[in-house]
Each structure stands twice: as C-alpha cells, then as structure tokens.
C-alpha cells in the first residue's frame, strides 16, 4: 500500500509558566492511501496536538523538539509558512469539532465553500461556485442551489458540519484530518455525518485521520486504530486487532469501561487520573494506573512489540520474561472472539487452497 504520510519520532513540548509540558513524546505512524486511521485517546493524550502539528497549527509556545513529518517526500516540519499555506486546504484539510464556530457567520456558505478553491487554483468565480454547488449536493444539503446564498445560522448543527466537510473536501485533499467531528453532535446526527464521511471517502479516495475518544465511532469508521496515552502511541493495529485482540493494558481498560450489549455486573474502571505531562512518569506513562504494572514499567519505556505485521503494542507484558496475566473478563471474551475469527479465516483459506 502506498504511504501518504509518514510521521517519525515526533516530539513536541509547550513552554508554560509552570515549566515544559511534554505533550508529544515520540510519536510514529504511517498513513496509507484511502484508509481511515483513528487516533483514540483521552484529553491530554496528545492526539489533537499530533494532528495540529501536521497542519502546523500549533500555538506560539509550542516547540517541535524532534521528528519528521514526511508528506510527498518532503518534511512538513521544514517548510516555511508560505509553503505550508499552499498545503493547508489543498493537500491536507481539517475539520474541527464545533461546527458552530468553524464557519464565518458573515459569509454566505456558497462563498465559504468556494473560497479554498479560489485561493488554491486559478479558477473563475462561476466555476468555483459550480464546484461548490456540486459538493454541497454531495454532502447532502437539500435544495443546494437555493441555499448557496444562505448564512450559517440558517442551517442546523448537522447541516453545518456537512458544510464544513464540503469546505474541507472541495480541493480534493490527499489527507483529511477530522478532529472530533461528531463530538458536539447528537447521536442520530453523528451517525449521519459518519455515514457521509465513509461514503465520500469511497468516492474521492481521501485518507482520513479521525481523532476521537468515542470507541463506538472508531469501531464504525476506522480501518486502523492508534491508541494514544501520555503523549505516546501505546498500541496500533487494524480495527479488528485493536478491538478483538488488544494487548496493551490501557486498551483493555478503555474497552472494558464501556457498557456493551451484554449486561455487566459492575463497570471496569481504570483507577486514577491521566498523567501530568509537566512531569511525566519515567517508564510506561500508564504504570501508575495499570493493574498489571511491573517493576520494569517504572524504569524503562517499553519498546513496540510486534504481534502481527500490522499490530504493535508498547507494553512490557509482551516481553518473553513477562508473567502471563489474565485480562478483564470483557477482554478475555474479545480474545476468544478473535481466535474464532482467525480459525474461521484459516478454514476458509484452506478450502480456497484445496479448490
């Protein structure tokens, strides 16, 4: 598969009065063409900072301490502001959480949707408007011609988020970064927006980085999932691997702390609070809240252990010396399910070979 984006050893810190906040502490991931990569994590885990650094939209007190962000064989970290402006909106577009504040209330939506096109491509006003109209239809705004001259306040929250998506997609970007695009929306609207994004992705083959804390949404949209904690990716793999064969205790905690279809007696809760990145713990940042913490977790940062070619997890539990532990019941069920899937798949393949 073709890589569109390659992030390597990214480290970002923020200067604050209280000291240096190490928001990103060595993040690495690749993004392939046409896939949706979900980045899951709690607030403060660094998921938003990571994507903002790709767009170079970080606050003034941010320092990129190290790392490369390779896009089209060029390091985005080394580009100047002018070059970045050309990339933003055209090659990489972004959707933000709040559709109320990401539209300009004094501009008609037709103009707003056409604006990036007019900026990045030499194109007549009329052509731009036509493309805008086409896109508004694509994202499902009813009576799009009539509504081109309407202002944002004349649309509902869900429609506004559709318009925001239209603006992001008008230049047919290679990468679409969606930063919690459905968090501010109601469940039924959320479902519509997600369907829309999947539908459009199929049509224009954009790669999507989908940031969210909602594992349900992830299960729906993602091809691959990266779980972040304390400024690092702790586990990354295909959606199936993360949901049915999770290896990192933090992923275990996340998955078991949500009620599922089967009724549970008591919800599994990860104890404690997320780490203070002013003074991040040495070793595995999760160890203070980790039921399965080992001595080594407090001393050494765990490396990535490969579970399959697509699945990696950074936990010492995967080291050969580590003791075998029994994860929470919910996870045990999921692991069993995973084995079942794998067996079925093997059977199918065997049969195929026989044929």
């Amino acid at each position: 598969m073709e890589k569109v984006l390659e992030v390597k050893d990214l480290k970002i810190s923020f200067d604050t009065f209280a000291g240096k906040v190490h928001a990103i502490r060595g993040v690495e991931f690749d993004l392939y063409r046409g896939e949706t990569l979900a980045i899951v994590g709690e607030s403060g885990s660094g998921k938003s900072v990571t994507t903002r650094s790709i767009m170079r939209l970080l606050a003034k007190n941010a320092n990129v301490d190290s790392g490369t962000i390779m896009f089209k064989n060029e390091d985005l970290n080394k580009k100047d502001d002018k070059a970045m402006q050309k990339i933003r909106g055209r090659d990489i577009a972004m959707i933000f959480q709040d559709p109320m504040t990401s539209l300009n209330p004094t501009m008609t939506i037709g103009k707003q949707v056409a604006e990036p096109l007019r900026k990045h491509e030499k194109i007549s006003k009329k052509e731009a408007m036509n493309t805008a109209l086409e896109l508004l239809r694509l994202v499902g705004i009813p009576d799009a011609e009539k509504r081109l001259n309407n202002y944002p306040h004349q649309f509902s929250g869900g429609q506004r988020q559709r318009i925001v998506i239209a603006i992001a997609l008008i230049c047919r970007p290679e990468i679409l970064i969606a930063d919690e695009p459905t968090t501010a929306l109601d469940v039924t609207i959320q479902a519509q927006i997600i369907e829309l994004m999947k539908d459009i992705q199929e049509k224009i083959r954009t790669s999507i980085i989908f940031i969210t804390h909602d594992l349900g949404v992830v299960a729906n949209v993602a091809d691959r999932v990266a779980v972040m904690y304390g400024g690092r990716i702790v586990e990354i793999g295909t959606s199936e691997e993360i949901f049915y064969n999770p290896q990192h205790p933090y992923t275990w905690g996340l998955l078991s702390s949500m009620p599922t279809l089967e009724t549970q007696d008591s919800l599994y809760a990860i104890p404690g609070s997320p780490p203070d990145l002013l003074d991040p713990p040495t070793g595995d940042a999760f160890y203070p809240r980790n039921e399965f913490a080992m001595q080594i977790d407090t001393e050494e940062t765990p490396p990535f252990f490969e579970i399959s070619p697509t699945h990696k997890a950074a936990t010492w539990l995967l080291a050969p010396q580590a003791p075998k532990v029994t994860p929470p019941q919910e996870i045990v069920n999921r692991h069993q399910h995973f084995q079942k899937i794998m067996k079925e798949r093997e059977l199918v393949q065997k049969k195929l070979r026989e044929v």
Partner: protein, 342 residues
C-alpha cells in the same frame, strides 16, 4: 537490535506490582496558586506594566509626601523672583543653570534679581514667583486625588448598580438601564457648568460632576458580566444549595468579575485625570492658589513662547501618569485573562 537489549533485562524486573495507590496517583504536583498569585506572576513578566507600576508608585509617594517635604511653599508668591528659569545645583548645562537668552546674550537671571546663592528653583518659577516644582507636586496630588475618587465612585456606585441590575433582571433591569441611558445622554461639560452655577469651582465640584456620570461605563460592564456569570453552573449549584441572592452576588459573582472591574477601574483613572485637566485648562476647574496639572498647563501655555519650561514640565508629568495608568491597565488585563491576548 532492540530485541537483544531487552532480553538482557533480568526476570525479577518483570514482577507484577499492580497499580499505584489511588491517593498516590491523584496527587497534584504543581504548587497551589490562588488566582491573584497566578495573575501577579504573569504581570511580573510584562516589563512595561511593572515599570509603570513603579513609576506610579514613586509619583504617588512624592506627590503626597510633598505635603510635608515640599521643597518650597507652593502657594507663596514672591513677585521679585518671578519667571526664573530652572536651576539645578551642580549642573551647568544651559537651560538648567539659571541662565537664559536675552537678546542673543546668556544672562544669569538669578544673579539679576538677586536670589541668594544657596536658593535653587529646580524647575524655575512662574509669573508670580512660585516654585514650579512644588506647584507640580501639588497639582499631581490634586489630579491623583480626583483619580482615586473616580476609582472609588466606580467601585461603589458602578459595581453596586451593575450587580443589582444584572442580578434582578427583568423589569427592574429594564428600568435601571433606561435611567443609565438618560444619565449618559447628558454631556459632562453641561453637568459641570450647571454645578458651577450652584457651587464654587474646586475639587468638590469636579467630584460631584463625576459622581453623576463617571460610573456609568462600569455599571454597564458589571451588568453584562453579571448576566454572563449568572448562568454558570456554579451559580445554579449555589441556588439549589439554597444560597440567597445577596450571598450569590457577593460570594460567586463579584470574585469572578473582579478582574474585569479592576481593569475597568484602571482605565477610568486616566480618563478622570484628563477630565480634570481639561476643565482646569478651560478655566472651569480648580481656582488659584490651588494647583492642578491642568491649571499649570493652562498657565504655562500663555507664556510658552518665552518660558517653555512652564508648560513642558506639567505636560510631561501628566503624560507620564496617563501612559503609566494605561500601560498598567493593559498589563493587568492580559495578566487576569491570558486568553484575551493573541
């Protein structure tokens, strides 16, 4: 390669130790700071604001200290020593050594009028022979008094009015706002002239005139802020706990709008100073022998062609005070609300 490394780690290290004690992981590392400590820390980073604060402190100290330690009596006239140029001991630069140009020739004015050797008028004297430096101290004092009264009016009248209006809401709020609109429709100058028909010109009259209209902006700002904070969940929580309206206003709303109030107060001070200077300049303010910066300016302006220092000195002092208050207010706004910057 990494494989090699971690296989060397002894097995003992892989003993399960479980998660940390809840209390341990909930510990807060950063030192506890109150809101004002935090703001002060940010204010300290703003050099202009800190310098302004120091200068204002010095000016206030000198202006009020001069009541006891004035170099000369600011109201004592001595026509004999009138219109003397500045003379600073130990400095022999023209303009500061008691000499002046008379028909192209440098003349020692002090010798001319027979000032004793050990008497110096650091900023010279005015047309009635009063020491300008002492008069500036006196004028600054008057201006600062007016400034502080304006601040107190803002705090007492404006804040109370705004709080009541915002807290009560509904019809009470509408009526109170209409009253404000009527009041703010009357020009300051008209109020002042009306007052002069009843009272003698002086600090008291100026203060009364400001009492009529000076607090309106503050009242409006406080009302707007109150309306905003009133809908916050902690105010709802206080209501459901059974807290009375007055306690909510004092315990929950006032502390949370204090930064806005302080900043607004800091901005209203230079306005008040300037209002007084303006009135005195056009002859509606203080009366001689009292002095204010506006009066000194007005007097100096008449002799500007011949004795420019008479206008320069009070003008510089007035400008410095105004700039310092504005810079300090600006710095405080940024310190209280870091989000408003950038």
């Amino acid at each position: 390669m990494a494989e090699m490394d971690y296989s060397k780690i002894p097995k003992e290290k892989f003993e399960l130790i479980g998660h940390q004690d809840a209390a341990e992981s909930e510990k807060i590392a950063a030192p506890s700071l109150t809101f004002f400590q935090d703001s002060w820390r940010r204010l300290k980073k703003n050099k202009a604001a800190v310098i302004s604060l120091v200068i204002l402190g010095l000016i206030t100290l000198i202006a009020f200290g001069a009541i006891w330690l004035s170099p000369k009596d600011p109201t004592k006239q001595n026509v004999q020593f009138a219109n003397l140029p500045p003379k600073i001991p130990g400095i022999s630069v023209d303009g500061f050594n008691g000499t002046t140009l008379v028909r192209g020739q440098r003349v020692d004015k002090y010798e001319q009028v027979g000032v004793p050797e050990d008497v110096y008028f650091i900023l010279g004297t005015d047309s009635l022979g009063r020491d300008l430096l002492s008069r500036i101290f006196m004028g600054t004092r008057a201006s600062l008094i007016i400034a502080f009264v304006a601040a107190i009016l803002d705090l007492s009248f404006g804040v109370t009015y705004g709080l009541i209006s915002g807290m009560k809401g509904g019809r009470v709020d509408s009526i109170m706002q209409r009253i404000l609109e009527v009041l703010s429709g009357i020009p300051n100058l008209v109020v002042m002239i009306l007052f002069l028909t009843i009272f003698k010109p002086g600090i008291l009259t100026i203060i009364l005139a400001m009492a009529v209209t000076g607090w309106i902006t503050m009242a409006r700002i406080v009302r707007a802020q109150t309306l905003k904070i009133k809908d916050q969940e902690y105010v709802l929580a206080a209501t459901t706990l059974g807290q009375s309206q007055i306690s909510i206003a004092l315990k929950h709303i006032l502390p949370n709008i204090s930064s806005v109030v302080i900043v607004q107060m800091m901005f209203s001070i230079p306005t008040a100073i300037f209002f007084e200077a303006f009135l005195s300049f056009i002859g509606l303010g203080l009366t001689p022998p009292n002095a204010s910066l506006g009066m000194l300016l007005s007097e100096g302006y008449k002799l500007f062609r011949f004795l420019p220092h008479l206008m320069w000195a009070p003008a510089i002092v007035l400008s410095v005070i105004m700039i310092c208050f504005n810079l300090l207010a600006d710095g405080m706004r940024d310190a209280f609300d870091p989000k408003m910057k950038d």
